[in-house]
């Protein structure tokens, strides 16, 4: 499943969590766990949104901000394939093509 996820990311370019979960036929929670696992193992790297939001502490808008319920964190912003992830995805993709 992890390799299938890497293959999906590599094969389909930019993607959202919802799209990926739908394509792999898994729940959003399981997908998030898998993404975090892949990041821990060095296949994905987190991406932060710069200068947009630095968290709620000290923010004047915290009382009214609609992101209050789930303030963005480094982990929740996005993931990008690392060179290790790309290598693994390519190998998996080749194996998959051979099987197909």
């Amino acid at each position: 499943m992890l390799k299938q996820l890497l293959r999906e990311i590599a094969n389909n370019g930019g993607s959202s969590h919802a799209h990926l979960a739908q394509r792999l036929d898994i729940s959003a929670t399981l997908l998030e766990q898998m993404l975090e696992d892949l990041a821990r193992k060095g296949y994905l790297a987190p991406v932060m949104a710069p200068a947009v939001c630095t968290g709620c502490s000290g923010c004047r808008l915290r009382q009214t901000c609609t992101l209050n319920a789930s303030p963005p964190t480094a982990e929740s912003q996005g993931w990008i394939l690392t060179p290790k992830g790309r290598r693994c995805a390519e190998t998996t993709l080749q194996d998959y093509r051979k099987q197909a």
């Binding site: 959202s16 919802a18 036929d25 193992k41 710069p50 009214t64 996005g78 990008i80």
Partner: protein, 579 residues
């Protein structure tokens, strides 16, 4: 590899099947563990075997502390090497992969959904908003609406602010100076022709900026901007640009300075420099007053569309240049794809929208009172100094001033682009301080040249009454213009809005210096403003982030590119008989 214990090992039902190769190695390690009574009673042998294959640091540390386990550690290392050679990947990943597969299968087999899982509203909207085919047209359509709102809705308020600054506020300042005995001299000229014309010329665009920030705040708070970034990223990735590049570029729509700092998120130096070189092409908020002024003068019927296309041109130039540089100077590895968590759509609250809009507008006004006021005073001084002709300080013809002398030297450079007049050239130079100053300088240069009109004598209360009345009039006009956003003109027969004195002066000057092709020259001027060197604060940030060499490349390159594109548009348009 031979595994003497494989035959004796049987996996319990219900345990994860890691595949023949991994199971064989588990069996081998399992057998070694069972030879050690202490270990096999303390730990589940299968669990311990898996931990050793996963190279669990805690377990390995514990085993290393006991000499009796040397054989087990050696066997585990051999098994790990063997599996790595077979799979070409980390063993812990292979094990995790199998576990997730097992979980997925288990869920599929055991979980029964009693009701059909429904897509959330966000999912349903995203199916369309982030669709591979529809995503970009939807993004463009929304940006179109943003700029229609910016021009059509803010237009009447722009005229109102212009009237208030040019009328009552100027009258009050002159009256106060009169009370202090400072009227009629250079002090009055400094205030009226320098500060009020320069700063006021920029402040006139506060309603335009507020409208833009209002529309962007709604898009941000609703969660759409994250989708826009996602859609743009997909486009950039398809063109071979870095997936992370979109983040600084999105920031660049607000201000180029934080956009340069945002390039720090790119680890690779080549990607970081490439993105840094592209960021200034994203049209920052400070350029909007220039577009708003020229679009209102030369394209009053399609002002929103002109501004929209300016922003799109910036994106297209950045992408085209990015692709060229990526395949030449910055040739490197293929870019990695990007996965993004999209927040659910939310209904924006009025309070949040107001705060977001107000924070940004306040920044714009603060800049007008600081940097722009200082620049306006310097320009006024340069306009007041007589050069090579008769006249005294603050009492000289504007085209005989030091400012005109310097600007006239540069004007011929811009002749091929259609705006080879010294006023436009001078405004472009001062635009290096801040892009809003382009408009402020024009307000000063043209206002001075027109001469002062005799102010009507009104009382303070009459002025306040006029301000309130004209505000109500502007609000009514704005309400009337709302249907225009969707292309419906309910008041078609009504009189067209009159151009302000500044607009008329700019129009006449551009028409004269372009041989009657004012609209084409204005388009070329707007493109030059879009593409040329960003303001000095942005250049300082660029130098800090990219270094002196690349900053010079960027500054010179942007000037050259801006001139080439402006000249091509003007000359090409003339050849095609446009404008």
């Amino acid at each position: 590899m031979a595994h003497p214990h494989t035959a004796a090992y049987t996996r319990d039902r219900g345990l994860v099947d890691y595949g023949a190769e991994v199971e064989n190695e588990i069996a081998t390690i399992h057998a070694v563990i069972e030879q050690n009574a202490d270990l096999s009673t303390r730990y589940s042998p299968r669990w311990l075997a898996l931990k050793l294959l996963e190279e669990d640091e805690d377990i390995l540390e514990k085993l290393h502390s006991n000499q009796n386990h040397t054989g087990l550690i050696a066997q585990a290392a051999t098994s790990v090497e063997h599996l790595r050679a077979v799979y070409g990947d980390d063993v812990d990943t292979i094990i995790a992969d199998r576990r997730y597969g097992w979980i997925h299968g288990l869920v599929k087999e055991t979980v029964q959904h009693t009701t059909t899982e429904r897509l959330s509203l966000s999912d349903k909207i995203d199916r369309i908003a982030t669709n591979r085919v529809l995503g970009i047209p939807i993004f463009l359509a929304l940006m179109w609406v943003v700029f229609k709102v910016t021009t059509d809705v803010a237009g009447p308020y722009l005229d109102w602010v212009d009237g208030v600054i040019g009328g009552p506020i100027t009258n009050w300042v002159v009256a106060i100076l009169g009370v202090l005995g400072l009227d009629g001299g250079w002090v009055e000229s400094l205030f009226v022709d320098g500060i009020i014309a320069g700063v006021g010329g920029v402040l006139v665009f506060v309603p335009v900026m507020m409208s833009l920030y209002l529309a962007l705040a709604i898009l941000e708070d609703s969660g759409y901007m994250a989708r826009a970034a996602f859609v743009m990223d997909r486009l950039m990735h398809a063109l071979g640009l870095h997936g992370k590049s979109f983040l600084p570029m999105i920031v660049g729509f607000g201000c180029t300075v934080p956009a340069f700092y945002a390039t720090r998120t790119l680890e690779n130096e080549k990607d970081r420099i490439l993105t840094g070189l592209l960021v200034p092409f994203m049209s920052c908020g400070a350029r909007l007053p220039v577009y708003a002024l020229f679009a209102a003068i030369f394209f009053p019927e399609n002002a929103g569309a002109v501004i929209f296309w300016m922003y799109i041109t910036g994106i297209v130039v950045a992408i085209v240049l990015g692709v060229i540089l990526k395949n030449t100077l910055f040739k490197g590895k293929e870019q990695a794809p990007f996965v993004m968590e999209l927040p659910p759509y939310r209904l924006p609250t009025l309070k949040a929208i107001w705060f977001h809009m107000w924070e940004r507008t306040r920044g714009f006004v603060r800049k007008a009172w600081g940097l722009i006021m200082a620049t306006s005073v310097i320009i006024w001084v340069l306009l007041a100094i007589p050069v090579g002709g008769s006249g005294a300080f603050a009492n000289t013809a504007v085209d005989k001033s030091a400012f005109a002398a310097v600007s006239q030297g540069m004007a011929p450079i811009f002749k091929p682009a259609g705006f080879g007049n010294w006023r436009a050239s001078g405004a472009l130079v001062t635009g290096f301080v801040a892009k809003e100053v382009v408009v402020g300088t024009m307000a000063q240069v043209y206002a001075v040249e027109e001469g002062e009109e005799a102010a009507e004598s009104t009382t303070f209360f009459e002025d306040v009454g006029a301000i309130l009345t004209s505000f109500v009039g502007a609000t009514v006009d704005t309400l009337k213009s709302l249907p225009l956003i969707v292309g419906i003109d309910l008041f078609e027969g009504e009189e067209e809005e009159e151009l302000t004195d500044l607009m008329v002066a700019v129009r006449d000057d551009f028409e004269a210096t372009s041989n009657g092709h004012g609209a084409l020259a204005s388009l070329s001027f707007m493109l030059f403003v879009l593409l040329y060197t960003p303001c000095m604060v942005a250049v300082a940030a660029e130098r800090q982030e990219l270094g002196a060499k690349w900053t010079w490349v960027s500054v010179v390159g942007q000037l050259a590119l801006a001139w080439i594109i402006a000249a091509i548009v003007f000359q090409g348009g003339m050849l095609l008989g446009l404008g």
